[in-house]
């Protein structure tokens, strides 16, 4: 079992799926000759040629739509957005076309496509490049939305996404590319729609996805030093949501904090909170807490950027509220 980076895991997933299925191709800005803006597609052009690793000009609406059209007639495109912030200029293709065509056609044309790329805040890249847009896509029936937190999940879930017969929005953590995890050699598929308990604990459940899973794991260490045993559940798949795994944990601990790096209003955590109170009401010992970024566009200055985003101390504070310790 090798320890590899999240970036390498994604690269392996695409490489293996492209070896396996000649209908899989990658299209996006700088994916080929530049080897990817974040080097996720490193080496794929040399291996698979320009036919299957297609450098696109700055035209997200255009190349996302070309992906949808190609998927309609049986190819399996991987459309890379340099960041998901840029997906907003292609959202017509994702929401109005990719998510609708199977339904509009009465089930005749399915769209096996992956829209992937980094999302969420990076470091000091300003408000236009720092958004967590998962709520936009998780809102839409007809899409699947996946956000892995580890290299292990990234590889297994991306392979499943590429094989899925439906459109999958696959949002990678922009600050997670260099993180490492043990990833077994050979094929390991992770079904879309399953959450994962990343740390077991008995006192409180922390629910998070992508980068915030790491923040929660760090918070759990701090809490452990204070005698609080937190369970960390990684949502992994926002749509469909694995309510059962989440609810099982919350029923066990009786307390729940939902942590997301997105904005508070209509954030995805609000839906998770609804589902948890709906399924766990009789077992809850405290109101469900949410930790989110502040309700502001992201500032550039490092100190302010840190202040806006959920930090370990914010998670610890929310846990203490839920435990009536403060």
């Amino acid at each position: 079992m090798a320890v590899i980076s999240y970036r390498e895991a994604l690269n392996q997933a695409m490489r293996e799926e492209m070896e396996r299925d000649a209908s899989v191709f990658i299209m996006g800005e700088e994916v080929g000759h530049y080897n990817g803006a974040y080097k996720v597609t490193q080496g794929l052009l040399q291996r698979f040629s320009e036919r299957r690793v297609v450098d696109a000009p700055i035209a997200e609406m255009g190349f996302a739509g070309i992906g949808v059209g190609a998927a309609m007639v049986g190819l399996r495109p991987i459309i890379e957005f340099m960041t998901f912030n840029f997906s907003l200029v292609a959202i017509d293709q994702i929401v109005n076309n990719a998510a609708k065509i199977f339904q509009m056609s009465g089930g005749q044309y399915n769209i096996p496509i992956v829209f992937r790329g980094p999302g969420g805040p990076a470091v000091q890249v300003g408000s236009q490049h720092s958004q967590s847009l998962e709520s936009y896509y998780a809102h839409v029936p007809g899409l699947k939305v996946v956000m892995p937190s580890t290299a292990f999940d990234a590889k297994g879930l991306l392979k499943s996404a590429i094989r899925d017969d439906n459109p999958v929005v696959f949002i990678e953590g922009e600050t997670l590319y260099n993180t490492t995890w043990e990833v077994p050699d050979g094929e390991q598929l992770i079904p879309i729609g399953l959450a994962d308990v990343k740390r077991t604990g008995k006192d409180i459940t922390l629910i998070a996805w992508s980068k915030m899973v790491w923040t929660c794991l760090d918070a759990a260490k701090v809490l452990a030093e204070q005698g609080i045993d937190a369970e960390v559940v990684d949502v992994r798949s926002l749509r469909p949501l694995d309510i059962e795994t989440l609810a099982t944990s919350v029923k066990k601990t009786g307390r729940c904090v939902i942590v997301e790096v997105g904005w508070p209003v209509a954030g995805y955590g609000a839906e998770v909170a609804y589902q948890m109170q709906r399924h766990c009401m009789d077992m809850l010992d405290a109101p469900i807490e949410r930790v989110t970024s502040d309700d502001v566009p992201m500032p550039y200055a490092k100190n302010l950027e840190d202040e806006v985003q959920p930090q370990v101390k914010d998670v610890v504070a929310a846990v203490k509220r839920a435990l009536y310790l403060e």
């Binding site: 609406m61 070309i66 949808v68 309609m72 509009m104 009465g106 089930g107």
Partner: protein, 343 residues
């Protein structure tokens, strides 16, 4: 005041096709070629009339955009295709679906929201699809469907299977980003797609001169080094021939073409539009040049017999009556959950 629109001549010096002043009014044809084209145009006209009637009776809901007056474009263009080629269209697509081979029964049942419709009653007037005939759909957010057609063409090139994609849109869609990006990428990657602008001179209620700085939409091709063509859509055979040139270019050299066909819709934008933004005289002038009537006259002129014509027309009448009856008698749409995600 509505500005007169150039309808029949290519004036731009860079054009690959320049109409001669003394060009004959009609392209040469034979009864064998023209009769099936006339039959399709007539069937579309009668189908649209039947759907307008059903709409006024409350049997069809939502938006209903009729293509009456523009039939020669979709019929002529689609006649230049092979069955394996793709067609992508906008919300005004009943005629395109029919021309591509979708049965009148399936179209009418879709309009009625019935289970037997070409999209099982889930798509409606604006979203007809048919995989069996490679009809890739009707799209309500115009412009965004241009990249989809380019994507089908991309798949053709990727596989080397020689299929061509036709994409239809109005001149009103030529101002939106999806069109601009689809055009740019089709040219850059040399995709076998023919982009057909059905310039009916009104973007809903806005005349062309208030929506475009330059009335010739085909000029956009020049910025991308793309082949282009521009002509009037009165003669279905001319449409077929000219689109065939572009289809041939796509199939043999994998180069896209932007084609602008000037046409006119006789009805409002949709059923709720009385068309107050244009004069009766203008509409009557265009109706005098009705492509359907011209096609019928031409058919007689090239020697199609009266008895044959009567038989053809009564056959169309029966087909559309049957389609309406089929739609009326079909079971209601009853399922939607299985069509959100493919299992």
């Amino acid at each position: 005041m509505v500005r007169a629109v150039v309808t029949a001549s290519m004036t731009t010096p860079d054009s690959k096709r320049i109409e001669q002043e003394d060009a004959p009014e009609y392209v040469e044809t034979t009864p064998a070629e023209l009769a099936p084209l006339y039959r399709q145009m007539l069937a579309i006209r009668r189908m649209e009339e039947a759907s307008a009637k059903a709409y006024s009776q409350g049997k069809i809901g939502g938006f209903l955009h009729l293509i009456i007056g523009q039939e020669a474009v979709c019929v002529g263009a689609t006649a230049a295709l092979k069955p394996e080629d793709y067609v992508v269209a906008t919300y005004r697509e009943h005629g395109h679906a029919y021309a591509k081979g979708v049965a009148a029964r399936a179209i009418m049942a879709e309009l009625y929201g019935k289970k037997t419709g070409c999209a099982k009653g889930l798509g409606g007037s604006m979203h007809m699809f048919d995989k069996a005939t490679n009809f890739l759909g009707g799209y309500g957010i115009v412009g965004g469907h241009v990249p989809i057609a380019a994507g089908a063409a991309f798949a053709s090139k990727y596989r080397g299977d020689g299929r061509v994609a036709l994409c239809f849109f109005g001149e009103g869609a030529s101002t939106i980003g999806g069109f601009a990006e689809g055009l740019a990428l089709a040219a850059l990657w040399k995709l076998p797609v023919v982009l057909i602008c059905e310039n009916n001179q009104y973007s809903m209620g806005t005349p062309l001169y208030r929506s475009l700085a330059v009335e010739d939409v085909s000029l956009r091709a020049l910025a991308h080094g793309m082949a282009r063509d521009r002509f009037d859509g009165d003669d279905v055979v001319k449409v077929k021939r000219r689109i065939a040139e572009a289809v041939e270019r796509a199939r043999t050299t994998s180069e896209p073409t932007l084609v602008e066909v000037v046409t006119y819709r006789f009805r409002g934008h949709s059923m709720s539009d009385p068309g107050l933004y244009r004069t009766k005289d203008e509409v009557e002038e265009w109706k005098r040049r009705d492509p359907l009537n011209r096609c019928r006259q031409r058919l007689i002129d090239v020697g199609f017999g009266n008895a044959d014509l009567e038989a053809l027309e009564s056959d169309v009448k029966a087909e559309i009556e049957d389609a309406v009856k089929f739609a009326e008698d079909s079971p209601a749409a009853d399922e939607y959950l299985p069509y959100v995600m493919k299992e």
